[in-house]
């Protein structure tokens, strides 16, 4: 009789543990979350992805660490601008007087 009672106790414990495990598993599934979780988490639609074959996986590029080596400035050279715009004589030679844009009807102060 005593042995039978222990079998019942152990069976109860095992069944209880199984129920707890099933409950946790269910809670972890999307769409089975409790009401408060549903309110807090925005619905994210499941992305349907194409199956990736092993071959594609092997051919995929391996992620590399970013190259942090300083690189040369990407700006284009301005030597031609500097050469001319620091040369007073050259500027005088190339200067073009703009067409007069002031109207003869203009009068008074602005």
């Amino acid at each position: 009789m005593k042995r039978m009672r222990w079998v019942h106790v152990w069976s109860g414990v095992v069944i209880g543990l199984l129920l707890v495990a099933v409950a946790f598993w269910l809670l972890a599934q999307p769409g089975v979350a409790g009401p408060s979780d549903r309110a807090a988490k925005p619905h994210v639609p499941v992305q349907v992805q194409a199956q990736t074959t092993w071959g594609e996986t092997l051919r995929a590029p391996v992620p590399q660490a970013p190259d942090l080596t300083p690189t040369a400035t990407p700006y284009p050279p301005s030597d031609n601008c500097v050469t001319c715009h620091t040369d007073k004589a050259k500027l005088k030679e190339l200067a073009e007087e703009p067409q007069k844009v002031k109207s003869e009807k203009a009068a008074g102060e602005g």
Partner: protein, 369 residues
């Protein structure tokens, strides 16, 4: 100030090339074409005023300032837009927009207009060989746009009217009173929207001015009733009249105003509020007219009379002792100091009804020393 020669406008000082602002190279900010000595070819894709694209030219480093100025008073000219809207301007009307952009936006200022070049009003050109000036030049930059109605008064350029004591005795540049936020940011409205800034009585200035401070006429009535300038503007200041805009036979845009006049007029405060509580302020005539934009379309300012043409002003010729505060009756009973109906053109009387003074303060019995 005479305009620069064409070549002077674009002559770069070799010293600038050592400046951090030169490091990206000319083309990074101004566009253009590298590796050619041909002028025409080199200037293909050129953006002479890099400040027209402030995010690209300046904003990569000066992120916060460029962000602040995007909506600033100097850039957006909110003052013009605000006043024109009060006069009924409809900025969705293409005719109005053409008139506005042809004649009003020349005053627009981006970074380079203050820190590198002369303003467009002086026909542009580099101020100092492309040196990037941290603090803009009082005379060339501020005065380039605000000379007639601010700097000339401040420096005493009008014959017989002294300079401001702030200039004459202290040599204070504009930046002593006007903060960097005023230049860069600004407000929607006009520069007279909100609290006076700068204020004469702000901390570090005349903060001890109050009724009973021991100064004659600084009593409750005068300090509450009159803006500081009413007593402390040293004399007349410039008013402009009768502006008309249009294009001539060759299609060149022009504006024409009547010769300016030196006026001194005390009027009712058109901006009376908790921030500007005075009954009387000084007024200056703005050159606006009913048909200001008449060339561009009919009735483009249909609510012209909503806004006075004699506008709130704060002349810069400030002195402690002035003709009108020499004695009680230097002001009381002096009809010519006040804006009365006969001072206002008949066509503008409705617009100025709220600022015209009808009751001149009676002369009082002078109290002897």
């Amino acid at each position: 100030m005479p305009p620069l020669e064409v070549w002077q406008k674009v002559l770069v000082d070799p010293k600038f090339l050592d400046d951090v602002h030169a490091k990206p190279g000319c083309i990074a900010c101004h566009g253009g074409t590298p590796n050619t000595d041909d002028k025409k070819e080199a200037h293909k894709g050129l953006l002479p005023k890099a400040g027209n694209e402030p995010e690209r030219a300046c904003g990569t480093c000066h992120v916060g300032i460029v962000e602040q100025t995007r909506d600033g008073l100097h850039r957006m000219l909110w003052g013009y837009q605000t006043v024109l809207k009060r006069r009924g301007a409809d900025f969705t009307n293409p005719k109005l927009v053409v008139a506005y952009t042809t004649h009003c936006t020349k005053c627009h200022a981006d970074c380079g207009d203050c820190h590198i070049s002369r303003p467009a009003a002086l026909d542009g050109g580099l101020i100092k060989g492309h040196k990037v000036k941290r603090v803009a030049s009082v005379f060339i930059t501020c005065g380039g746009c605000h000379s007639a109605r601010v700097l000339d008064e401040y420096k005493g350029a009008h014959e017989g009217i002294p300079a401001s004591v702030h200039w004459e005795k202290q040599g204070m540049p504009c930046t002593k009173c006007h903060t960097v936020e005023e230049y860069h940011a600004g407000v929607h409205g006009t520069r007279y929207t909100g609290k006076p800034q700068p204020s004469c009585t702000q901390a570090g200035c005349h903060e001890d001015v109050r009724p009973g401070d021991g100064i004659e006429q600084h009593d409750e009535t005068h300090l509450k009733g009159l803006a500081c300038q009413v007593c402390h503007a040293a004399g007349a200041y410039k008013s402009c009249f009768n502006c008309h805009t249009g294009r001539d036979e060759k299609g060149i845009p022009y504006f024409a105003t009547d010769p300016s006049q030196l006026t001194f007029k005390i009027g009712r405060n058109p901006l009376k509020s908790e921030d500007r509580p005075w009954d009387y302020v000084l007024l200056r005539h703005a050159p606006a007219t009913h048909d200001l934009f008449g060339y561009y379309g009919e009735n483009l300012l249909p609510d012209f009379d909503n806004e006075p043409t004699w506008k709130y002003t704060t002349p810069h010729n400030t002195r402690r002792q002035t003709p009108q505060n020499a004695s009680c009756n230097a002001c009381h009973g002096q009809r010519e100091l006040f804006l009365t109906e006969e001072d206002v053109a008949p066509a503008e009387r409705d617009a100025n009804r709220a600022v015209i003074v009808t009751d001149i303060p009676e002369p009082v019995e002078e109290v002897g020393p």
